[in-house]
Symmetry: C2
DNA sequence: CGCATGATTGAAGTACGTCAACTCTTGTGG
DNA sequence: CCACAAGAGTTGACGTACTTCAATCATGCG
């Protein structure tokens, strides 16, 4: 037991455990997933679109964005990932998007082959993988509705609420959200221009719906208002 | 053998075979998927958003759309499905969208539980399911780029090309595509108004890029032009 | 045949994008 | 420690591409 504790710790540190999403519960069932830790500095591309996928990534710290880029430079950010998020899927195919760090980040890379082995062994694990993918798809659907049918203020409100929810899920109760990415990244995520994102945020500030300590640190002052705007943009 | 043939035929007709996507190759390996055939008339809702999912559907004939609807009536069509397409996933959860027939349609319903059993038995089948889901996700990504960053003419061109490709994949060489859905459905898919869709199609006609026999039957006259417009909208 | 629905076209308005100026950070080197 | 540069963010003025509103034209089904 004296020995076991440091061993477990070593396991946690050097191997990663896919705790949040994919890992089976209970110490007995821990799948032998051997991930490799990587430390990435800000604005690094760790995967290019069309690259063949070799790993599934778990974000330990920092923020990473998934981006699709058109020939003329237009960008669509598919999603942002931060601590606890999983990126990728257990199939070796071509990447649909490139992955770039928004901030310095620590990640754990799990070889796809290992996940396949784990899935072959455990139906429970396979089910968790499916549930994870389901969740990702649900996000994609909501994103499509935002991009196709929502007004700028509704998109921005929904975006802020995503981060608010994430903060609540993490156990915080201070109405504080940190937007690690630039205004351009946000606008590329929401299908808007950075100017429009700025103006909408400015309006929210003037209406005392949010308060900004600086451009990346925001307090939600009026949650119901934000929810109402996000849901159907009734306020003008 | 005289007996076997009608039995097989009966099997094909009443059970469905998930041929195109999920079915394993070779007669020996045919998974015992017992689907139930359903005949649906036009404008029928076969699944409501938030309903719990009990089946995966295979479209035999006709066209079905997946739709998300906002409180105030705005609609985002997530996708259209026609002969050979599979709708849904092997997990019993809440539906992310409602499913409505665009035309009269024949479908086969496979209980999710059966797919799970088949996946438990066959890693090969599981892999096919993953590949299918991958393909769906790729479509979602491209759709997000269209909705977030493409101009109307680029979206419409890409939409036409999807159907052109489908026609080619089905072995047709006549440059003919059939758009079973209404202009409103197309606009709700592309995040535009029906008027804009009409005007773009009208421009394509005037530029001899397409020719319309009627509003639903279209010939592609200038494929390269269509591809160029879809890819980066260079033409004005 | 006639009505209802869908498609198309035109005119007008506006929300968002574009362009540009300015300010605020942040980081670096003297 | 400050000065400066480079980048990011913000705000304003203006233009326009798309929407909205409206009228007309097809299409198809009872």
């Amino acid at each position: 037991m004296n020995i076991a504790v440091p061993v477990i710790k070593e396991f946690d540190q050097s191997v990663g455990i896919l705790t949040s999403v994919l890992q089976e519960k209970g110490p007995r069932q821990i799948s032998p997933l051997n991930g490799i830790k990587r430390k990435l500095s800000k604005n690094t591309t760790l995967l290019y679109e069309e690259d063949s996928i070799k790993h599934v990534y778990e974000v330990i710290s920092g923020t990473i964005k998934a981006v699709k880029i058109l020939a003329d430079g237009r960008r669509q950010v598919i999603g942002f990932f931060s601590a606890g998020d999983i990126i990728g899927m257990p199939l070796e195919l071509k990447a649909f998007y490139s992955l770039e760090t928004v901030t310095n980040a620590n990640i754990v890379c799990y070889p796809v082959s290992q996940l396949n082995v784990a899935m072959g062994r455990s139906p429970e694990f396979t089910k968790r993988v499916f549930q994870f993918i389901y969740g990702e798809i649900e996000k994609h659907m909501n994103h499509m509705v935002s991009l196709g049918r929502k007004r700028p203020k509704e998109r921005v409100a929904a975006f802020l609420l995503q981060y608010y929810q994430k903060s609540v899920d993490a156990g915080h109760r201070d109405n504080f959200i940190e937007l690690a990415m630039s205004r351009i990244d946000i606008s590329d995520y929401l299908g808007l221009t950075q100017e429009t994102v700025c103006r909408v945020l400015g309006r929210f500030k003037r209406n005392n719906i949010i308060e900004a300590r600086n451009s990346h640190e925001i307090f939600v002052l009026d949650l119901p208002a934000l929810q109402q705007i996000a849901q159907s943009g009734l306020l003008h």
